[in-house]
Amino acid sequence: MSKIEIRGIYKIFGRHEQACLQAVQGGMSKAELLGKNGHTVGLRDISLSIEAGSIYVIMGLSGSGKSTLIRHFNRLIEPTAGQILVDGQDVMALGPRELEQFRQRTMSMVFQRFGLFPHRNVLENAAYGLQVQGMPKSEREAKARHWLEQVGLKGFEKQFPRQLSGGMQQRVGLARALATDADILLMDEAFSALDPLIRREMQDQLLALQAKLNKTIVFITHDLDEALRLGNRIAILKDGELVQEGAPEDILLNPANEYVQAFLQDVNRGKVLTASHALSERKALTLTTRTAPARALERLQERAFDYAPVLDGRNLRGVLTQSAAQRALEAGARDIAGYLDDVASVPASTGLDEVLGQLLREPQPLAVTGDDGEFVGWLSRKKVVQLVSPALDSAA
């Protein structure tokens, strides 16, 4: 059961949204509807399902409907049609009182332009959600203090928002959202108004907090680098329609259409794709340290390989070359353990940009190892180049 599930959301902006719904469901385009009835299609048939504990990124350019979509989760905007389920509960069925309760307890939100209250100090801002819930003053202030400390704002409690920098203001916004202990955090372009350095810092902080808190985060952004950095899954919107939805690598490796492709052009692929994406297709021949030299040599010659990885259990011990196997055979050794050459390896989760550096330094083949140091495969130089700069590759 997913945490948040939305099914067939339509949003039409204008006076007679219901009347236009059928036409839009019948396939009338955005431009056609605008020309005919003066109504705008905000969202068209969006269905998503968001797993608990994940960071789900919704991205698109301005006007793609992403900010409209996130406001449907807590019904700041009412859909024209469609279903919204949170923990299996139908949000559309909530009455005004229940909806207030739902917003107080289940979801909190961080805004692009912070949305802080200028007439309240930092502490009162951070405690706002709790005040709305009716929590007594001392209790809510203690809680707000805790969360301000968590986001690194200890000592700023008595300041007013206007006295803080943008990054600090957004930390207040984050503390305010976290203080309510809601399971779900909606972040509407939360870091877009910040300069790149601060943005990066806030992303790190969010990831660190998320590792501790394990909330369900819906994150809106127009910045693909940010999406790839934060998202467990990414949905891409264009003109109110869902273009592609998937894990970051899936989107990077298999863009659904030219729009997504264009989006991906400027992205730093080396940061997102890892060594595990650039494994050689060559069927690896693996030996163990206990293999007899004659057997090792035979198997190497059989496949015409110059070398093969040698494992001790599942861990990579080294590499055996044909000439070393020959020497071991001539020396009459019992096994090949004493004749191994060292081999460079990289963990499978290493970003390709780092791998590229190692490839340039090391002329030797690079092995890829898993989380526990087990051998996964050889790194393919050709693939690394292809993945990091596809344009370069196709031009060649």
């Binding site: 700041l76 107080q104 909190s108 005040q131 709305v132």
Partner: protein
């Protein structure tokens, strides 16, 4: 000659008849309803006139100090009040002061809720904006006639006429203040589950306060400008003194009374403005 589509004379008569009916049927009821206001005003006037002059001066000084936190300004306000006493108009001045406080208080009591209503409900704004325009531009003598017919001469019609003329600014500026509240901030409060009352009291009103104070300031100024008209229908005070000056062609009497009105106006203005400015300082 402009073509006559319907007999205008009949329209006039119809209105006259309607007001006459109103007076016959409801004058007693309306007078009874206005009694609490009249009693409050009489009490306030009595209080101001009986209290020793220095206690009033001290009260103005302390109020001004509490509101502005500026010593020099507060001393100035107290001195202005003394000027009214020095020109021999203390008693008249207190009568006018009582009327002003009452009229301004009523205007605020009516104006702020009205402004909030118009700020939050779009149709209310469309309906009442032209009404406010009429209230501000219609010559006050026009509605003085029916008001006097209904309530008789005296303090009540003076207050009603003053409120009608003075209430629009506080309504307009309250509405403006509510509408100018940053949409993002209001949305944030909604996203955290604030109910309409929490949104109004916790976000909209505090953020609109500088504008509301500007409205109250304008309202007091306009109320003071009605002093002379009010005295024509029986309100005593500085306005009466001005009227006497006009009737008897005594320039000195009129001028001194006029200056006393100006002194009161400056007092009201500086004190309400100082409060508005301090609020603004807090919220921006």
């Amino acid at each position: 000659m402009f073509p006559e589509l319907f007999p205008a004379r009949d329209l006039r008569h119809a209105i006259d008849a309607f007001v006459e009916q109103l007076v016959v049927r409801y004058a007693d009821v309306l007078e009874a309803m206005s009694q609490p206001v009249l009693q409050a005003l009489v009490w306030l006037e009595h209080l101001l006139r009986v209290a020793p002059w220095w206690s009033i001066v001290l009260a103005v000084f302390l109020l001004s100090l509490a509101v502005s936190r500026r010593l020099l300004l507060s001393v100035g306000m107290a001195a202005l009040l003394c000027v009214i006493g020095l020109v021999g108009l203390w008693d008249r001045g207190m009568q006018t002061l009582a009327l002003m406080i009452m009229a301004t208080g009523l205007s605020v009591l009516i104006g702020i809720p009205m402004g909030i209503f118009m700020g939050r409900v779009n149709w209310a704004r469309r309906v009442f904006t032209p009404v406010l325009d009429v209230m501000q531009t219609m010559p006050s003598f026009v509605y003085l006639i029916p008001v006097v017919m209904l309530f008789g001469l005296g303090k009540i019609p003076a207050i009603i006429a003053t409120v009608i003329y003075a209430v629009p600014p506080v309504i307009r500026l309250t509405e403006l203040g509510i509408r100018l509240v940053d949409e993002d901030v209001l949305e944030a409060s909604r996203a955290f589950g604030a109910n309409p009352r929490q949104q109004l009291l916790g976000v909209q009103l505090p953020l609109a306060l500088p504008n509301i104070m500007a409205g109250i300031n304008q309202t007091t100024m306009m109320a003071l400008s009605m002093v002379v008209v009010a005295s024509m229908i029986g309100a005593r005070g500085l306005g009466q003194e001005v009227l006497l000056g006009i009737n008897r062609l005594e320039v000195g009497r009129g001028l001194l009374a006029g200056l006393a009105i100006v002194a009161l106006a400056i007092m009201f203005d500086r004190i309400t403005q100082a409060y508005g400015q301090r609020q603004q300082g807090v919220s921006q």
